[in-house]
């Protein structure tokens, strides 16, 4: 098998995923009624990334062959999809939504930063401990729960940062702490995986090889099981950390470049203490 062949044949048109993504777009179209092109584009992009992560060769490789690709998948689910989807929501829609007292109550609880942080962090760490990770690989049902956990907790996590109603977002200082601490958690997990013993994720050492792509990966791409696990850990450690860092920098940059509004009063000719 060649790389091109893998890209062509590695698609796994899992109906539940297709239906899920379809429903998402349908609901968005009917309920949110996108009016601004930018928001529409962002939401669709989020949906496409979701689709890409779950049905493209990324998924086939992740499930059987490469731990590192599985990490790419998880990082897409956690760091790319939810922010894009949230950014696609319009302010008007959310305002309308939150007028309902029950929804407003749920939002109030779920978007509490500490809870969201802990839920996202705990979910991410939980599913990457070898015991649960391997269970998810072995049972499709568990795997679906895993991915849903990621999507839901990550949406909770990004909500206070990207809230469509800007006044409800975290203040800069809190946002920096919120993001930085999360990146540290990611880093620790990434470092642990990078240096963990090779047997921690046994499924990738001798893959079942149902696609017949093993020789391609080992020989043509030259990725050994050791490299694979290291790469997976490193992806979570550095590039994922960079996503958090970029978010921090973006927030600080935005805040810094907002002009501050001063009341216009004639500047006092305050006596300077020249002595």
């Amino acid at each position: 098998m060649t790389t091109g062949g893998l890209i062509l044949t590695g698609w796994d048109w899992e109906p539940s995923v297709l239906i899920g993504c379809g429903v998402l777009v349908f609901l968005y179209w009917r309920l949110v009624r996108p009016r601004r092109r930018r928001e529409f584009a962002l939401f669709i992009a989020g949906d496409l990334v979701l689709l890409l992560a779950l049905v493209s060769p990324i998924d086939s490789l992740a499930d059987e062959y490469l731990f590192s690709v599985h990490m790419v998948q998880h990082l897409l689910l956690v760091l790319a999809v939810p922010p894009l989807l949230i950014a696609g929501l319009s302010r008007e829609f959310v305002e309308g939504l939150l007028r309902g007292p029950r929804l407003a109550r749920i939002e109030q609880v779920c978007a509490r930063p500490l809870l969201a942080w802990v839920a996202a962090g705990a979910g991410f760490v939980f599913w990457h401990t070898p015991l649960f990770y391997n269970a998810a690989l072995a049972h499709e049902g568990v795997h679906i729960v895993e991915h849903l956990t990621f999507l839901i907790t990550a949406t909770m996590y990004w909500w206070p940062l990207l809230h469509p109603m800007e006044e409800s977002r975290l203040s800069v200082g809190k946002a920096v702490v919120y993001l930085f601490s999360a990146s540290m958690l990611n880093t620790v997990l990434g470092i642990w995986i990078t240096f963990a013993p090779l047997g921690s994720y046994p499924a990738y050492i001798q893959p079942k090889d149902t696609l017949g792509a093993l020789s391609l990966i080992r020989d043509a791409w030259g990725i050994s099981a050791r490299t694979d696990q290291q790469l997976g850990g490193l992806l979570m450690w550095v590039p994922a950390g960079l996503v958090y860092f970029s978010a921090i920098v973006a927030i600080v940059a935005r805040w810094q470049s907002e002009a501050e509004f001063c009341e216009v009063i004639e500047p006092q000719t305050g006596e300077r203490n020249g002595r």
């Binding site: 990966i217 080992r218 020989d219 791409w221 030259g222 990725i223 050994s224 099981a225 490299t227 470049s257």
Partner: protein, 315 residues
């Protein structure tokens, strides 16, 4: 003894990629430097005080311009990164194939305070500070640290690699044509770090095989009485505790001396190997390499010259 030690020369296919990416990078960096310099000088000349009256226009910035000089370097660095990854693969190909087969090393280089031990496991002999390799053949080199961290570095033949106790490293090693290439320990390792030089002698395949056979053989037993007496001294004093001479002693703490007289240098590049220097070195190692672990054996003048006579027979 003229050795080429410049990283801007290449005598190995493994160094080609490094050299290429080095030159490309240095040129790019130089151009950016020139750009900055020109801008700075232009700003300094054009906007000297006094060319216009009053305070100049207060320009608070231009987001588009600033984004441009953020994005352009980023783009440039992405290209540089791709070049980097290509050059890494080219100049340091993976040692073990990804499916897991791990070939045995051809040569094991062990860094000691303050000399290099070179083992040829397949051929079954050990030498020091001077590594012979067949030109044009790619060898697998394993690098180990005996005591502290050293670093094996022969610039014209490719990358450097640390010699770490408890964590052996492996890399490929090759010289494209016969010649003598200088190198050195590049990680600070103690008092005599400066004198821990490496000499790599790349030979045509035939010469290399000859050298192998010579190294494998036992040195001839000393025939003249003076040398014989020297051998006696070697055995009776403490030389053999640290130094091995095949068939005579088996010390491993110092360089193997089985064929010491056939080497070009003494004390890891400190002195040219000739009888006079050898005698001076043994008489007072501290004079030449203070801090090395070679003790002063305090031999009498005649004993010393007998010992040197004996060592000169170890070819």
């Amino acid at each position: 003894m003229r050795q080429v030690t410049s990283a801007l020369e290449s005598h190995s296919p493994l160094q080609h990629g490094i050299l290429h990416v080095t030159i490309v990078t240095l040129v790019i960096m130089f151009l950016i430097m020139v750009l900055v310099f020109v801008l700075l000088v232009a700003a300094s000349l054009r906007y000297r005080q006094g060319r216009r009256p009053g305070e100049p226009d207060q320009n608070f910035g231009n987001t588009k311009l600033e984004l441009a000089w953020t994005a352009l370097p980023l783009l440039l660095l992405v290209c540089l990164f791709i070049l980097t990854v290509i050059a890494m693969r080219e100049s340091d190909p993976p040692v073990a194939s990804a499916s897991g087969a791990d070939p045995p090393p051809d040569i094991v280089a062990v860094g000691h305070q303050f000399w290099w031990e070179f083992r040829y496991p397949a051929e079954g002999f050990v030498t020091a500070n001077e590594m012979h390799i067949p030109a044009g053949r790619r060898l697998l080199l394993r690098i180990e640290g005996f005591d502290v961290i050293h670093d094996f570095w022969v610039p014209v033949l490719g990358r450097k690699m640390d010699a770490i106790p408890g964590q052996p490293n492996e890399m490929f090693f090759e010289a494209s044509e016969p010649g003598e290439y200088g190198g050195t320990c590049a990680e600070f390792c103690g008092a005599e770090h400066a004198w821990m030089r490496i000499l790599v002698i790349a030979q045509a395949e035939n010469d290399f095989q000859l050298w192998i056979r010579q190294q494998q053989s036992l040195p001839p037993a000393p025939s003249e009485p003076e040398a014989e007496r020297g051998a006696q001294i070697f055995r009776t004093t403490s030389c053999g505790v640290c130094h091995a001479v095949n068939g005579v002693s088996s010390g491993r703490l110092g360089p193997d001396l089985t064929h010491v007289a056939s080497r070009q240098t003494l004390a890891a590049g400190r002195l040219v190997n000739n009888p006079v220097n050898l005698e001076a070195w043994i008489a007072d190692p501290d004079k030449y390499k203070p801090g090395s672990f070679m003790p002063n054996a305090a031999l009498s003048e005649p004993d010393l010259s007998a010992l040197v006579r004996y060592l000169e027979t170890l070819r």
